[in-house]
Amino acid sequence: MITALLCCLLYPAFAGQKVRVGIYHNTPKVGLDEQGEPCGIFVDVIKYVARAENWDLEFVTGTWKEGLDRLEAGEIELMPDVAYTFDRAQHFSFHEIPTLSSWFQVYAHPGSGIKTLLDLEGKKVVVLESSVQQKSFEALAQSFHIKIDLIGVPDYQTVFQKVKDREAAAAVTNQFFGNMHARQYGLEDTAIIFSPSALHFATAKGRNLNLLEKIDKHLKLLKQDHQSEYYQSLKRWTSEKVSFQIPQEIKIIALVLLGFLFMSILGSLMLKHQVNLRTAELQQSHAELEHRVLERTAELAAAMERAEAADRIKSAFLASMSHELRTPLNSIIGFTGILLQGLAGPLNDEQNKQLGMVQKSARHLLSLINDVLDISKIEAGQLELAPNSFALRPSLEKILMLLTPMAKDKGLELRSQIADDVGQVTTDQRRFEQIIINLLNNAVKFTEKGFVSLACRIENGRCLIEVADSGIGMEESALQTIFEPFRQIDSGLARKHEGTGLGLSICRKLLEMMGGSIDVKSRPGQGSTFYVSFPVNKEAEHGKNTADN
């Protein structure tokens, strides 16, 4: 509560008191610079005070008379450059310490011989029309009983211009303006000085006296310190540019040096021009190259994006295709199974036989679809393994159970030899079983009598599996290509033995993904043996390899 109250009370102080200051053109005392910003000694002083007192200054530009009118009307708080007179004291209030002391001075051409007021006798002198100095200069001349031809003009610039153009012998301005601008017009100051005056900031009579009080306070301090901003401002605005005569011989030397300098600059400019030309050429070819690289990169990025999009579509297509094809087929196989089990009622022998054929064909179709989808996924790089840890022995025993009826039907002996140390493996169980089932299936398919055997052992962190048979075997030439897709179709085996010929190529691809391999030994009429090898734990195997390297 108290804090809030304090904030309210203090707020105006933080925001700063707003002080409007009149500006008119009378540099260097007060005026506008080339950017139209207020400048001059009075501006410097009031800005200094404003900073110290946290005043918020606003400058209002106009003529001298407008400034004084606004001050009286309360439209501005302060008017600078106001000389104290008895008349003005009736309308305005002044601070005590003068901001500037000024006087009027006579300016003439150098060597005009005008040194005292008497030298102006009968001459034309230009003054500011209806100004204080006009009146006081007339009074001065009268008091010396001399006759001077006074010409009034509306502004100080014209005052000097008239003398420069030799339309008059001398000019009268205040010493600040004169010191600043006389040289521009080829004039210099004379020793004729009159009407000294003290210049102040003024407020409307009796108003804003606190502002005047603060200005006095700061002026007093500013004037005590010779390094203060006040003196720096005076120096900045009033210091004369000193010029001196240079001896002739130095001028000649300087000219010669300048000539050399000019030649060498010219030479270096020409050199620089040539370098610039070459640089520009290089820059252009560089830019062209860069442009082409960017273009090509964009093309490649677009092509890449298209390829990736096509890939995503293909992947999505494969996923939905496999689902869409299998769903109806599963329903055919399922219902056939229900009917064959007699769950829907008894079947006669012929119905039983034919439904059995439907079931067999449907199962074959399902395996074909599975193979085609698998190989497409593998070729597209869309097949992902899902490794898990599982016990190898039960997995292999389950597979043997599955194959037993088929082997029994053909009168084949199904042997197995699983080593005692066979334990857990980490790989994709489903894919592993798919590989072994495929190999055993092939073995049974291509063997008419004798045996099919499965052996498994662990060696050096790898699982080694052998699937052997006493079947028809293969020619040496066939061995080269059996792991390539669609080989069975080429060799004409498809006619005799059902299958896509994709099984072995799927096996090889899957094993490669598992970090394993597959190999075969076979001779015609002497059976075949397939050797499968893969790491028991793919991550551990990988780590071991890295360590060895």
Binding site: A319, H323, R326, T327, N330, S331, G334, G337, I338, L343
Partner: protein, 122 residues
């Protein structure tokens, strides 16, 4: 007393096959052909188990499993997802979504009912 099973499955043949096999073994079978209806019927009937397909119209199996898990009156009801072997990662996802187990598609008519019975436990 006959146990009641709710099958949420949009494929007519699959639903018929499952219902046929289960009814043969004396189960009472309710069916819902989409996920939204499935949730509604589960809350209405509080079955002894729910068989849930993954690819369903309106609300898929994941959403259904997640929704069913919000209702404590179904806390004791096992949700058995019927997932397709084709979809890698389906099983992990459906278990994470709240299913208690899964049966693989295509269902095997010889073993299907036994598998369901295992989930029903005692």
């Amino acid at each position: 007393m006959a146990k009641t099973l709710l099958i949420i499955e949009d494929n007519e043949q699959n639903f018929y096959m499952m219902r046929f096999l289960l009814e043969k073994k004396g189960f009472k079978v309710l069916g819902a052909e989409n996920g939204r209806l499935g949730v509604q019927m589960a809350l209405e009937h509080i079955p002894d188990a729910i068989l849930l397909d993954i690819q369903l119209p309106e609300m898929d199996g994941y959403a259904v499993a997640a929704e069913l898990k919000k209702h404590h009156e179904l806390d004791h009801v096992p949700i058995i997802a019927v997932t397709s072997y084709a979809m890698v990662g389906d099983r992990e996802q459906i278990l994470a979504a709240g299913a208690n187990g899964y049966i693989e598609k295509p269902i095997n008519p010889d073993t299907f009912v036994d598998e369901i019975t295992q989930f029903l436990g005692q």
